[in-house]
């Protein structure tokens, strides 16, 4: 637990709440069963804030999905939640004895290390043979138990990592883009599996999605990040929209959901911010003191993308062109 320089901003959340009870930030909705709570968390590297003022919690049985453009601080936020990174301001409160299962975004295992899928399972703790087999068969890779991890395809490796994380029966499962490298039907299957794990074990799940608009249908809270929390809310089941249903297919429509962004501001390509009242500023919230001039700055990490396309910060800009063939590759 880290409590560096605690700033508890009592001002109303700088984020427009969309239906959820988030008036005092996320902690308001966390009861005693919160597994992890972030309060006004900020992470600073090389004099720049990667994220700031991040406020949310994950409770038992809850699925929280983080979305946002590249460099928006999704992974940073997730790593802070589980203690891999220490917050430079604000604090992270973890339930004592919290057992975490973590699937990182990137993992390269050196060829010199002989590691079978089976051996990978017991990397951080001992497991019974039956538990290993169960985790492997639930992710559909039982037949690969003896294979070396370096010989797996991207999708197979991703499943192996997920199997490893769930086999240890964590209280909190943190999945950083778990469906990367997995084809569309595999993606649906994995989301289905994540739902099953949640329902069966009641663990909390913090999921980072590569997609800005389509998230797992079972998500309880979507948090859109872009250096800060841009907006948060609940997704709307795809199955409620005939148009989406046609595109994704009936099975997928059960699993996927659409998230309609509800922003009071738009991040422009030049880094400036267009507010709902039509005013232009260099930062998001001129009054809360959070966002200095360089916040969405002219530096590479944030301004490298074109906001209206990859970020969808404008209202309800639901883009379907991501489904065109060949466009399904991750950024």
């Amino acid at each position: 637990m880290s409590e560096t320089d605690v700033h508890l901003h009592t001002a109303a959340s700088p984020v427009p709440s969309s239906g959820q009870d988030t008036r005092n930030g996320a902690p308001a909705r966390s009861g005693n069963n919160a597994l992890v709570t972030l309060r006004e968390v900020g992470i600073r590297r090389s004099g720049r804030w990667l994220v700031r003022g991040v406020d949310f919690s994950v409770s038992r049985g809850e699925i929280v999905t983080l979305i946002g453009p590249n460099g928006s601080g999704k992974s940073t936020t997730a790593k802070t939640a589980i203690g891999v990174m220490k917050p430079d301001e604000g604090r992270v409160e973890k339930m004592s004895g919290l057992k975490v299962g973590y699937v990182p975004q990137k993992l390269a295992i050196d060829w010199t290390l002989p590691l079978t899928v089976e051996r990978l399972m017991t990397l951080t703790g001992p497991l019974k043979t039956a538990e290993i087999a169960e985790a492997l068969s639930s992710t559909g890779i039982l037949h690969l138990a003896r294979a070396e991890v370096q010989h797996l395809s991207g999708g197979e490796f991703q499943r192996a990592l997920l199997a490893r994380a769930i086999a240890r029966r964590p209280d909190l499962l943190v999945l950083d883009e778990p469906v990367q490298g997995v084809d569309f039907s595999g993606e649906i299957a994995l989301y289905d599996l994540i739902k099953t794990i949640r329902n069966r074990t009641g663990c909390g799940i913090l999921l980072i999605s590569h997609d800005l608009h389509v998230v797992m249908a079972e998500t309880d809270t979507v948090i859109c990040l872009n250096g800060h929390v841009c907006c948060r809310g609940t997704p709307q089941a795809v199955s409620q929209s005939p148009e989406y249903q046609r595109l994704f297919g009936a099975k997928a429509a059960q699993t996927l959901a659409v998230y309609n962004h509800d922003h009071d501001h738009t991040h422009l390509p030049d880094g400036r911010v267009l507010h709902a009242d039509g005013s232009l500023t260099n930062h998001c919230h001129p009054d809360d003191g959070h966002h200095r001039d360089d916040h969405h700055g002219d530096d590479t990490a944030v301004s490298g993308h074109v906001h209206d396309d990859s970020c969808g910060c404008g209202h309800s800009q639901i883009r379907l062109k991501r489904l065109e063939p060949g466009k399904r590759d991750r950024a």
């Binding site: 203690g83 295992i109 290390l113 079978t116 051996r119 990397l123 703790g125 490298g181």
Partner: protein, 276 residues
Amino acid sequence: MLDDFFIRALIAGVGLAITVGPLGCFVVWRRMAYFGDTMAHSALLGVALSLLLDLNLMVSVFIVAAMVSLLLLALQKRGGLSTDALLGILSHSSLSIGLVIVAFMTWVRIDLVGFLFGDILAVSEADIDIVWGGGILVLMALVMLWRPLLASTVNPEIAEAEGLHPERSRLFFMLLMALVIAIAMKIVGILLITSLLIIPAATARRFSASPEIMAVFASLIGAVSVVGGLFGSLHFDTPSGPSIVVAALVIFVLSLLPIGRRSRDGTPFSPPGGHH
């Protein structure tokens, strides 16, 4: 028949090879070959300080090697220069400072070649006790540290998230390395320690299905190299330390030959395919 000194060399050398095998695997897995080299080079500074301050040689070498690794950690945290460049600076400057200090001490005459390349034929019974005693200590520590060390080798973030304290295991690993260097210096010498760490481990990779098997194989291959090298040095009248390294190299080269190859991917040292 074999002389006593030769038997002592065999016992000490085999003990050392068994100790460094598993540690060498971690050096290979963590891509720390240059790091091992740096710590080994700093041992000469340890030798110089032990002479200057009249300290026990092994204690002095251990302390200096440990300090150098801590210094590296501190410099890495500070940012700026790459680890590679930092290692280059630490490695050769500590070696040179050691040589300069020795040169100033005109009243001591030391066998520099013995320190650089080892003098395994001069090991005493006390040295054997230290090699085996220290070796058992290192191996026991490694067994206890195995899971967190392996987990943080695969991914420090997973290890941290799942409560295995990768920073702590890294620190322990560095201390074990310093200890092994202090033990090994007399046998294979400062300049050749890294090869005994790396070559047997690299040879073992192809024949191993798990990290644990690779660690055991590395020990065995190292032991065979020591025995082969020592007999070779006796037979051809060559220096013992380099002969051991040459024997290890011969086994490594033989292991590359496509005889009875079980590896599924083309060349043994092809980079991993598949995931990214």
